[in-house]
Amino acid sequence: MNITDFIKKIETEIDEFEAGTLNPDTDLRKTTAWTSMHALIIIALIDTEYNVTITGEDLRTITSIEDLYNIIQSRIAV
């Protein structure tokens, strides 16, 4: 797993994000397309792909995709 793959997966799962529009610095919640449905999709994607549980609270604390990626990495490592 690397951050580029992770970003590609998000772009694949959320139709509103076109390929190549997201980068590690993107704050997902500040994108114009962001809705509560996307939070559900991100949580389910991470559960399905990495078997890691992310909460809505986690999504509120992060300010970039990189932050989210780091949370996943830290929980895979445990």
Partner: protein, 249 residues
């Protein structure tokens, strides 16, 4: 004498270690009934047990997903005058990520257990005539939410199950009904708060004319359905929503 009491009634409450189940057990005892409480978490179940009024209550730790635990529970319970099925889980997941495993996880706890428990209790004749069965549904059975494919469907299934039980057991005077609450402040609510975004939840809460519910609001309705005051009521679902479904806000 008022029929709004539970004297001389013994009632099984599942999922009694926390939230709505816990409060229902406490309220039954307040209204003069005896309870058999069950849940997976021994420590939390003991905590509920310590707070029960009266001396004829019992507590049986059981993981109802485990067939042996479920059979042991049914073997140990006394004759029942009522059952309140409160065990349940909620795990929001969008449809495109669902799998057999996810379906099983929710349906086993929210539906299969209730069916198997009813099957074993009735076959072993552990239920008295004129008993009352109460299932915990949710307004999401008829008013679903995004991510609720499994939870909402499992609650819709429970409402159907309750009606079938009402039909199959009326010759014994046994009644079966559902309570369908909207948002209630419980540990499950706190869990939902972590899972969803707080903004979404706050926006939802503001749509309740009478505010969101407390476990006691649900427990009072359960007591009514368990008492003889509701003896002409069977096969229905009582909505408890603080006016939310009026949709005026």
């Amino acid at each position: 004498m008022t029929p709004f009491h539970l004297h001389n009634k013994t009632i099984l409450v599942t999922g009694a270690s926390s939230g709505i189940g816990r409060q229902i057990a406490l309220s039954i005892c307040e209204m003069g009934g005896n309870v058999v409480i069950t849940a997976r978490d021994k420590k939390r179940l003991e905590e509920t047990f310590k707070n029960l009024k009266g001396k004829n209550n019992s507590s049986i730790t059981a993981d109802l997903l485990n067939q042996n635990d479920l059979s042991a529970l049914v073997n140990h319970i006394p004759m029942l005058d009522g059952i309140v099925h409160c065990a349940g889980i909620v795990k929001p997941f969008p449809v495109k990520f669902l799998s057999e495993e996810k379906i099983q996880e929710t349906f086993q706890t929210n539906y299969n257990i209730q069916v198997i428990l009813m099957a074993q209790i009735t076959r072993q004749k552990k239920i008295n005539k004129n008993a009352s069965i109460v299932f915990l549904s949710s307004i999401s059975a008829t008013h679903p939410h995004k991510g609720g494919a499994l939870y909402s469907a499992s609650k819709a299934a429970i409402e159907s199950l309750s009606k079938v039980i009402a039909l199959e057991f009326y010759p014994q005077g046994i009644r079966s009904n559902c309570l369908s609450p909207a948002m209630v402040k419980t540990p499950m609510y706190d869990y939902a708060e972590k899972g969803a975004s707080k903004e979404t939840l706050d926006e939802h809460v503001n749509k309740y004319p009478l505010g969101i519910g407390s476990p006691a609001d649900v427990a009072n309705a359960a007591v009514f359905l368990l008492s003889d005051a509701s003896k002409w009521i069977t096969g229905i679902t009582i909505t408890l929503d603080g006016g939310f479904l009026l949709g005026g806000i």
